[in-house]
């Protein structure tokens, strides 16, 4: 069984430590997306870090074995500028010595109607949604077992576009580990095993199937605060006595799913 272990990795103000065993789909969320960027870059072994991240007990930084298996992609940035599969296959093989499943790519281009997502201006280019879908099709065609995806559903608006991308990325038969840098938590409701919340107070790892969060106004008697704001987001660690007290104080609070925390700021 493959394992990713994070030990004292410092992102933002706090340190993260965790061990993940395959197969797993993990979402990473922060109000400041730069922190998500930083976390996924560290997990990809892109940069030297203050803490330590290992994959099967080997440091991930510049590790050739790990790099062979993992893929870091930002769906918000243009990567592929054509749908010509032969050209893509040649380029990817020549420049990066990777195998590209052209049949899978063609199938996804057809299923997601990517050809309709182009705009003809002074030059021919993908729309923003088209760019996201093309990146998704490319990731699936590259067939790596460990995916690190930033902005997985960015610029996608319709259910017809979002659903296949979410289902495809969270398919545990296709990839052993998927870490998603969430720009929209709602789209992945019910699909994630864990959500890493990088807050302005602390970083927590939440199992959305078992744990709830609390959205509370006011500053007193708060525990395990993750995000501070007009409404504070904390872990749901309060017993009935505390909530009764809040009721008496007419303080507003709400138990919420981790996928709803974007609503409260």
């Amino acid at each position: 069984m493959d394992t990713v272990a994070i030990n004292n990795l410092i992102v933002g103000k706090s340190a993260i430590s965790a061990v993940f065993n395959e197969p797993l789909v993990v979402g990473v969320y922060a109000r400041n997306y730069r922190l998500v960027d930083e976390f996924l870059d560290a997990l990809a072994g892109l940069n030297p870090t203050q803490g330590k991240i290992t994959y099967n007990n080997e440091d991930v930084f510049d590790n050739a074995n790990y790099f062979q298996k993992r893929l870091l992609f930002n769906f918000a940035k243009p990567c592929v500028s054509t749908l010509r599969t032969n050209y893509l296959k040649d380029q990817i093989a020549t420049n990066w010595e990777l195998t590209f499943d052209e049949n899978k790519f063609k199938k996804l281009v057809k299923e997601l109607s990517i050809r309709s997502e182009v705009s003809i201006d002074y030059h021919y280019c993908f729309t923003k949604a088209g760019n996201t879908l093309t990146n998704y099709a490319t990731v699936k065609a590259l067939d790596k077992s460990l995916l690190l995806i930033k902005n997985p559903t960015v610029h996608l608006n319709s259910f017809e576009q979002i659903d296949p991308v979410v289902s495809g990325l969270t398919d545990k038969n296709a990839s052993s580990f998927v870490f998603l840098g969430m720009e929209n938590l709602k789209n992945f409701a019910g699909k994630l095993d864990y959500v890493i919340l990088i807050g302005n107070e602390q970083t927590v790892i939440v199992n959305p199937k078992l744990e709830k969060m609390m959205a509370v106004s006011g500053e007193e008697n708060l525990q395990e605060v993750v995000f501070r704001g007009e409404v504070n987001i904390t872990r749901d660690v309060y017993d009935k006595a505390v909530t009764r007290l809040w009721d008496k104080q007419k303080r507003s609070y709400q138990r919420i799913s981790v996928f709803d925390i974007e609503v409260f700021r």
Partner: protein, 194 residues
């Protein structure tokens, strides 16, 4: 038909064809240069001048623009740097072969002398400039500044080659600089945040 097309699409085949084309062009240029009584080193300056310009700019682009993407898709820093050094050595080796061929044809056809200290100086400078471009890209030097550095250095090299005799130790100094850059680039490459 498809097999022939696939054969000619291969990188190595394209490279060999370009190399053969260069040999033919050099042969014709020797005849032309002799007709106009041009200096014998002229074509060598062109070959290494072009290579130095392209080498510098390509190296700068590799580290300033393409490095992050290459890392993201699965190449390690060590792999990228080793591959870069191999390609640089290959391009310098191929251009040196072209120069040797040119000298051979020129001597055989015209029987004119060459200034060898200048000829040795050029590939070393090309190597130095390429490695410098690589370092500037790693350090995220602004592209306008990088271009200005290139213009100044390239202008300086042209002035030295055309106006000054290049002493033997001059070549050694530039070669030592290039050797130092190989290690500095490796050191920075393995540590810098991208």
């Amino acid at each position: 038909m498809n097999k022939i097309k696939t054969f000619f699409d291969r990188y190595v085949v394209i490279l060999v064809l370009y190399f053969l084309l260069a040999l033919v062009l050099i042969l014709f240029s020797v005849l032309f240069l002799d007709d106009i009584k041009a200096p014998s080193n002229m074509l060598i300056y062109n070959i290494f001048g072009t290579l130095a310009l392209l080498g510098y700019w390509q190296s700068y682009q590799l580290t300033s623009k393409k490095l992050r993407w290459s890392l993201a898709i699965g190449k390690t820093r060590r792999q990228i740097y080793n591959r870069y050094l191999k390609r640089l050595a290959l391009s310098l080796g191929l251009s040196s072969l072209l120069v040797v061929y040119y000298i051979f044809v020129f001597k055989w056809y015209v029987n004119r002398s060459f200034d060898y200290s200048n000829i040795i100086f050029l590939p070393i400078v090309t190597l130095f400039l390429s490695l410098l471009g690589f370092l500037e890209g790693l350090l995220r030097l602004n592209s306008k500044v990088a271009l200005l550095v290139l213009i100044l250095l390239f202008g300086g090299v042209i002035a030295i080659v055309l106006l000054l005799p290049i002493p033997y130790y001059g070549n050694l100094v530039v070669l030592a600089g290039a050797g130092l850059l190989v290690f500095v680039n490796r050191f920075v490459m393995l540590r810098i945040k991208v």
